[in-house]
């Protein structure tokens, strides 16, 4: 059986570098051709120079955002896993929570950011809460879907073996749902930074979102772009690490990712 990592190899470093170089070339071309003012669109060299000159500042804010993202990811994934397990075990829970869960998705998470800032303050908590909210639903729904779609034969086998429901859940259904959960966690790794940065835009005194707003207000567009590059790098690194862990988990399960 092949896992996703065998059939779809990770994007190689040179491919990322090539794609990055290509985008930078297009960017530079747009700057040359349009002769646009640098306070509207600075060229790649100006941004690179801002990145190097202000590295300590960018690094400080990147670390803050990274902490928000990581804590949000861990809490959001844990909450998603626990919810999916609970909804699988408890029929009453399914009847009570499922409609609320689906309804909650009609509220744009971004619209909640000001409320979260009001309730949890300008510190870390409101950004972590945003990341948790944005991560929670994809993890819950993909894991729940995986738990509900255990191959019927495995459940028949467990039934004839007189397996208690809890054992069937933990030893059969959960491992069989690892590929689905992995898909959810991969999505979470991309969404979590979005949640944290939106939280920072609404109200913060630290983090890359705050730095971007600050730089924008002072017309330091090169610094703003440099912060954006740092955010991209943070997301790509997080996605790569999470992707590796998920690949390992899917490979362990011996199943294919759905």
């Amino acid at each position: 059986m092949k896992s996703k990592s065998d059939s779809l190899p990770l994007i190689r470093v040179w491919e990322i570098l090539f794609a990055g170089l290509f985008m930078i070339l297009i960017w530079q071309a747009v700057v040359w051709i349009t002769q646009v003012e640098s306070f509207i669109l600075p060229g790649p060299m100006a941004v690179a120079s801002a990145f190097v000159n202000q590295f300590a500042l960018i690094w400080h804010h990147t670390l803050i955002t990274a902490i928000e993202v990581l804590v949000g990811m861990v809490l959001g994934v844990a909450a998603g896993i626990l919810t999916a397990l609970h909804l699988t075990i408890s029929e009453r829970g399914r009847k009570l929570i499922m409609p609320a869960l689906v309804m909650s998705q009609t509220i744009p998470v971004f619209a909640l950011a000001p409320l979260l800032t009001l309730w949890l303050g300008y510190g870390l908590a409101s950004k972590v809460a945003m990341a948790v909210l944005i991560v929670y639903f994809p993890v819950t729904s993909t894991f729940l879907d995986g738990l509900a779609n255990t191959p019927k034969g495995y459940l028949d086998l467990a039934h004839t073996m007189r397996s208690p429901n809890r054992s069937t859940l933990m030893q059969v259904r959960v491992p069989a749902a690892v590929p689905s959960l992995s898909s959810g966690i991969r999505l979470a790794a991309v969404y979590a930074p979005i949640g944290a940065v939106i939280g920072e835009w609404v109200g913060a005194s630290n983090g890359l979102g705050y730095l971007m707003l600050l730089a924008n207000g002072r017309v330091k567009i090169d610094l703003m772009f440099a912060a954006l590059v740092a955010l991209c790098l943070l997301t790509v690194a997080l996605r790569a690490v999470v992707g590796l862990i998920c690949d390992r988990a899917v490979e362990w399960s011996g199943l294919n990712e759905r």
Partner: protein, 243 residues
Amino acid sequence: MDAPDQMIPGLRLSGDFSYNERPLFSDLALELPARSWTCLLGSSGIGKSTLLRLIAGLETGGSFSGSISASDSLPVDGRVAYMAQSDLLLPWLTVRQNVSLGASLRREPQDHAKIDYLIRRVGLEEYISNKPGELSGGMRQRCALARTLMEDTSLVLLDEPFSALDPATRRQMQALASSTLQDRTVLLVTHDLAEALRLGSRIYAMTQGRLKQFNLPASRSIRELDDPATMDIQSRIFSVLNS
């Protein structure tokens, strides 16, 4: 170590079964003599697997009215091992963990000596730590057989377990299953007449919701098909299945 300690009972199923009020079979009687192989033969979709699933206590999607009882009057539930066409090995577990799955699910202590013995018995001792994805189709079915034997139940239900194997591997598996399960009450569902003739002491040919019973000459091992008595039964079963 092969035979379970308790008395091995026979089993009787009788009754009606319908899907959405459309009868699949009615007034049907199936009897599995104790300590012997009964084969249930018939074309696809005729209801063979439904009968087996009823005995196993598995979901059938229809409604059954009738009785399923063991000859010792004890409940059938909990005394059944099940082996399907697909080996149903859990791909994240090793061969050893798959063989001992039942005890692990029931949170019973593991009988390590018995696990090792059964894995040796099916010839997988070199693959004890391998996962199913690293095994061939025949090896996987041998592992599933060891898992079935590990359950130590008096009744074994086999739902076309050899049908996906190539002819040579199928014959090996038939011989192995026949010798390892010779003291159990076995129901083998198959659409392969030769397989039923080789392994069964009793064959039920299923057609249009009816069962026709054929008893074969006693044999402790795999039956050769060129025996005149077997050939006679073969032609009679053919005529029932083609009627």
